[in-house]
Amino acid sequence: MSENNSFVRKEMISERIPPAADRGLLKWVRENLFSSAFNTIMTFISLWVIYSITIAVTPWFLNGVWDAKTVRECYDLLDGKSGACFAVLKERFPQLIYGFKYPSSEYWRPNIATVLLIVALAPILFRRLPRQLLIFTAVYPFLAFWLIWGGSILTSVSAFLGCAIAVICYRRFSSRSFAIAVLISLIAANVWWIIGGYIVDLNASFLSLKVVASRDMGGFMLNLLLGTIAVCLSIPLGIALALGRQSGMPIIKWICVVFIEFIRGVPLITLLFVANVILAFFFPPDTSIDLILRVLIMMTFFNAAYIAEVVRGGLAALSKGQYEAADSIGLDYTQSMRFIILPQALKISIPGIVNVSVGMLKDTTLVSIISMFDLVGMIRGPILSSTDWNGVYWELFGAAAAIFFVVCFSVSKYSQWLERQLETGKR
């Protein structure tokens, strides 16, 4: 080896901090705002745009009128200045939230149901919370039904007991055969519901709340109700459809494929019209299935079909080795899905599931087209068409947008947090 190539280090170099221009805020500003001539120009243009918008909009907000009875009174108070008429939000607040037919003496019921909803969802959303809270989650749907629709509490109790009986029967017989267990639990639950139905009819006034019919629900409450139930039901249904689509049993696979492809191929609004009008032709003339229930079924199906495809993507993203490893240590199909495949596939699917579900939450406003008075339905119908508040578009639709933004943005932030929580290092 020649002399030039030979080198031996005598002392190791210790760590030093980077130069001042490559540190902290200065570095960030230079790299993100002024990295080239073009970017510098764009930065100044953006600053100018932001400034102009702020200048234009701020007076509109600051001059906003909060106390007025009609839009005319608003304009009188503004006296020619530019300004918003937020008074409509204040005056019609109960209508925006609960619809215009929900009895105002009963507003406390949906309020409590909403607070309890947070308690019920907490143990599902946050794994750290004590698992005993899940018992309340199981009870909640029945409690919420009683609170929102009213009637005797016995109806909810009977429905809950029927479900509990079904679960107990399934546990008892599931070691023998899946099919037998499902059959027995279905029969047991239905027998109980028939008996329970008589008991409820005999004591119809026991702990009874004022009955509120489905057609009287409205406002943002209706959006939240439809969105929450449809999303909660469609996730398990979507997972089942995705697994069914992968199934080796041709009939199950075929049913799932046809269901998914059919529902995905049809616009939601069409399904809602079907729910509203056409479904009625299929039932005997004197039966009437609740409109909210019909809409919920359609929304759940619609969302489930999309979630099924998202989950299928997650399942496909797992390496075949994961399935083989689960098989090779002796796990059966249910166990390998529950412990190995689904936890990983669902984690991959989180962004997709949240994407679809946030979309569903917003699509609940489509029910305004089949003459249900949700938040948007209330604004378009009773509020804007009243002579008092004719033409107050910006404030009302802005408020609706703000409400939906808060809910959807929180959901999206939660999902990002959850993804970070489930991160366990590189594969």
């Binding site: 080795g321 994961q322 083989e324 490893a325 090779s328 240590i329 002796g330 796990l331 366990t424 590189k426």
Partner: protein, 255 residues
């Protein structure tokens, strides 16, 4: 290389394969395989890629389905009966080339999952067993970590421990060292040698010929989906009979 292991082989049959055939579509991967493995045997299977070695051992725990012939593992015949398959899989451990640990579970959970849910062992006992085997593969301190935080060699040793936690009577290895850096191969081979010393019945697909010489009591050479030659390691390496074997050995030992 260390000295050849001298180990007892019982005459009890662990695995018996009789005129077994398998096709992938119309491609005939395994042709008339006949193989009997006694308890305590350490068999190394080698051969060029695509010769069907992996498929052969994957048939033994039904990860691949064979079409004709018989495979009897521990006295239970492999049929399409799902109960038999699950029973055999819980008796036969398997290690894969790419480890296939469960990345969302900690090392300890990887090891206790199957004992708890398949063997129905109480959680505490399963964890004790898992720690015992993690100590055996010399990584008890990693128990709370996740697979993604471990090196390749450590992951493969966890995979071995995970299989051992089911207390299998037979272990299958599918190229356990071929995805590893040279430095890590030794630690995995050492673990496998220890396992052999404990009297485990092993079938190992590998290209580690040093391991074959030291541990195996039989070397099988496969090509084109059939067993071309099998012999004791001494005879196999020093005095191969078939031209195909000679060519293969000259290629892998020739540098």
């Amino acid at each position: 290389m260390a000295e050849k292991l001298k180990l007892e082989v019982s005459d009890e049959v662990a695995i018996k394969i009789q005129s077994m055939n398998k096709w992938f579509g119309s491609f005939h991967v395994l042709r008339d395989i006949d193989l009997t493995v006694n308890r305590g045997e350490r068999i190394v299977v080698c051969g060029p890629s695509g010769s069907g070695k992996s498929t052969l051992i994957r048939c033994i725990n039904a990860l691949e389905e064979h079409q004709t012939g018989q495979i009897i593992v521990d006295g239970t015949e492999l049929t399409s009966d799902i109960k038999n398959i699950d029973r055999i899989r819980s008796e036969v451990g398997m290690c894969f080339q790419h480890f296939n640990l469960f990345p969302h579970l900690s090392i300890l959970e990887n090891c206790t999952l199957a004992p708890i849910w398949v063997r129905k062992i109480p959680k505490k006992e399963a964890e004790e067993t898992a720690m015992h085997f993690l100590e055996k593969v010399k990584i008890p301190e990693q128990a709370e970590k996740y697979p993604g935080q471990l090196s390749g060699g450590q992951q493969q040793r966890v995979a071995i421990a995970r299989s051992l936690c089911m207390r299998p009577r037979i272990m299958l290895f599918d190229e356990p060292t071929s995805a590893l850096d040279p430095e890590m191969i030794k630690e995995v081979l050492d673990t496998m040698i220890e396992l052999a010393e404990d009297g485990m019945t092993m079938i190992c697909v590998t290209h580690e010929m040093g391991f074959a010489r030291q541990v195996a009591n039989r070397v099988i050479f496969m090509d084109d989906g059939q067993i071309v030659e099998q012999n004791e390691p001494e005879q196999f390496f020093n005095n191969p009979q078939s031209d195909r074997t000679k060519l293969f050995l000259s290629q892998i030992l020739g540098h």
